[in-house]
């Protein structure tokens, strides 16, 4: 088990180094930070002096290792746009994004799994058909459109929920949370639905397809022949057998939700890293963009590791000893 985790962590290192190279390449080759900093009129001496000060006159590999070293210490440089350390900017904004992403995913999973199980058990029922048609909409409508439509309905027409921002937040040490105030929770509703909608429909369709498949299997027929209760069969035996692919998709989607909450955060002016990223792109704020890239890489690698560990927990057939250690 520990060997397995270590092996997976070792595999993650090259991935993160590759992401680091790309992030670093952005620094070096996208745009010209010196030009941006010095403005229109400058002499070659000015330029050389600034390049030396910033270490840009050193060989690429030296710069790369310095970049990596700093990144490992949480130092991603200073934002060109805001003039604050990138790490500070992220620390301020990450809680907002994580709270949004986790709420969206929890919401999606809580709705999608029962709905998918239902649609898998009674595929011909009226409700199942409605769910499937509805889910097609969820899969095919672009996120920003869902967000705008929700704002139109619930903020503009009905006036029930706020259309932007995070509401009042509470500071808990380094973390700011919107979970503890009413206005924070109200502000969370629409963005979470918007962000979770695609995930919800995807998981629901997957659970349904897997349930249909599993319910045809011999062990379900045998479970019926043993006289087990329908509840036990559907939720104990069938659902658990659908979990491996479902966990994979939930994991990948959670990564996707964290990484690409950009659109939702823009629509709802949600003060998270996605919005920060969009603002940085507009300003060619490369240190922020590079750090964002690394962050997304770390999130994906971490989630993949957790997903692999969950496979282990779900499916005993994967817990086979390695050759030589077997019985």
């Amino acid at each position: 088990m520990i060997v397995f985790i270590l092996a997976r962590l070792l595999q993650a290192i090259p991935v993160l180094i590759a992401v680091g190279v790309i992030a670093f390449a952005m620094f070096r080759y996208v745009g010209d930070p010196i030009g941006a900093m010095l403005g229109q009129d400058y002499s070659d001496a000015h330029r050389a002096e600034l390049m030396h000060k910033l270490g840009l006159d050193q060989p690429a590999y030296v710069q790369f290792f310095r970049f990596l070293w700093n990144a490992l210490h949480g130092n991603f440089g200073i934002s060109y746009r805001v003039g604050e350390p990138v790490a500070t900017l992220f620390a301020q904004r990450l809680p907002a994004t994580l709270e949004l992403a986790i709420t969206a995913t929890v919401l999606a999973v809580l709705v999608a799994i029962p709905a998918g199980v239902y649609a898998g058990i009674w595929p011909r029922s009226w409700v199942s058909r409605a769910l499937m048609v509805g889910s097609l909409l969820g899969v095919s409508l672009p996120t920003f459109l869902i967000g705008v439509l929700l704002i139109l309905a619930f903020s503009v027409q009905l006036g029930w929920l706020p259309s932007f921002g995070r509401g009042h937040v509470v500071h808990l040490g380094f973390w700011t949370t919107g979970f503890l105030t009413l206005s924070g929770l109200r502000a969370l509703v629409l963005p979470a639905i918007t962000l979770g909608m695609f995930e919800l429909t995807l998981i629901m369709r997957l659970v349904r397809a897997e349930m249909l498949e599993v319910l045809r299997s011999d062990y379900i027929k045998f479970a019926r022949a043993r006289g087990l209760r329908a509840r036990t069969i559907y939720f104990g035996h069938a659902l658990k057998n659908t979990l491996v692919p479902v966990i994979t998709i939930i994991g990948l989607q959670l990564g996707g939700v964290v990484a690409y909450s950009v659109v939702t955060e823009t629509v709802f002016q949600w003060p998270g890293v996605g919005l920060l990223f969009i603002q940085s792109v507009a300003a060619a704020d490369i240190p922020v963009m590079a750090a964002y890239l690394l962050l997304v890489g770390v999130v994906f690698v971490t989630i993949n590791l957790v997903v692999d560990l969950l496979y282990y927990a779900v499916d005993p057939r994967l817990r086979v000893e390695r050759p030589g250690h077997g019985r």
Partner: protein
């Protein structure tokens, strides 16, 4: 014969399809006495497995019982509400399926699958159910049952898994077990062990067995009586020895002739010409007449009823000696 444990009368199963209704079982009647082993043979598609599924109320939709009745210890069990039928399955009628590699849930230990079955049907604590599960594993011949109970299905061989399946079918002590091709998916060397086990358990617990198979050898070795199915109907039913020695139905005769004899080598194995009709093309009269070497004109128009013919019952106009 004592009062039947299971009585099946004129059981008819139909599948509505776009191109009309297919009659997959047509007025099938038989009875099983307590403790009796009734073999059921026939080609693929003859309706053997369907008979088993119809009895335990697990016909795959859109299949449905369109007529006839099924009685368990005198009480009708066809068209029972789903919940009442569920209580019968496992508790009063057990089932053993064909492929032990796929009938066990791969994600749960066999102990969990046994105890959940026991506790679904019998009022027992978890500890009592576990004790009972270990006893059953021991009884079906799983070595070191007390330790192996916490193993997962993939840690057992095919033969052992079928032993576990048998334990699962019998652990709530049903009076009847429907064994649908219990040895077909197993190695030949394992088949005999499983059949011997089934036979011993049936005797020791007084369990009646409906043994569905296409292997006449298994029937000959195990069953008290045999029902021969053809195109959704029973062609012949009677004591195994009589059916083998003096088959009254030409189809049974052909079936027996196609079993290779042990005493001498044959140049060529006898076979029945043609193939069993598809469900949408069952001929009028006797379903077997197009392939029957002795068919007469009457066979084309008149459907033979199952009537005594010597020591057995046969559905053949020519068999009434």
């Amino acid at each position: 014969m004592s009062a039947p444990l299971l009585g099946v009368a004129d059981l008819t199963v139909e599948f509505p399809t776009r191109r009309g209704i297919l009659r997959a079982l047509d007025a099938v009647s038989f009875a099983i006495a307590p403790g009796e082993i009734l073999g059921m043979v026939g080609e693929s598609g003859a309706g053997k497995s369907l008979t088993g599924a119809a009895i335990i109320g697990l016909l795959a939709p859109p299949g449905r019982i369109a007529g006839g009745e099924v009685r368990l210890e005198g009480a009708r069990i066809d068209h029972l509400p789903a919940e009442a039928m569920r209580r019968i399955r496992g508790r009063r009628i057990g089932a053993i399926f064909q492929d032990p590699l796929t009938t066990l849930n791969p994600l749960y230990t066999i102990g969990r699958q046994l105890t959940e079955t026991i506790r679904t049907h019998l009022p027992m604590s978890a500890a009592e159910a576990r004790t009972r599960a270990i006893r059953w594993l021991d009884e079906v011949g799983i070595p070191a049952a007390a330790r192996r109970i916490d193993a997962y299905p993939h840690e057992f061989s095919g033969g052992q898994r079928q032993r576990v399946v048998i334990a699962l079918a019998l652990c709530a002590e049903p009076r009847l077990v429907i064994a649908d091709e219990p040895t077909t998916a197993l190695d030949v060397s394992i088949q005999a062990q499983i059949i011997a086990l089934l036979k011993r358990l049936a005797r020791e617990h007084g369990t009646a067995v409906l043994l569905i198979t296409h292997d006449m050898g298994v029937i000959a070795e195990t069953a008290d009586r045999v029902a021969v199915m053809y195109a959704g109907r029973i062609a012949e039913i009677g004591p195994v020895a009589e059916v083998i020695r003096a088959p009254a139905h030409p189809y049974t005769e052909g079936l027996m002739a196609s079993i290779p004899p042990l005493e001498h080598r044959l140049e060529r194995l006898a076979q029945i010409e043609g193939a069993m009709p598809r469900l949408n093309a069952i001929p009028d009269g006797c379903a077997f007449h197009p392939r029957c070497p002795r068919a007469i004109d009457r066979c084309r128009g008149e459907r033979p009823a199952l009537t005594p013919a010597g020591a057995t019952m046969a559905a053949c106009l020519l068999a009434h000696a």
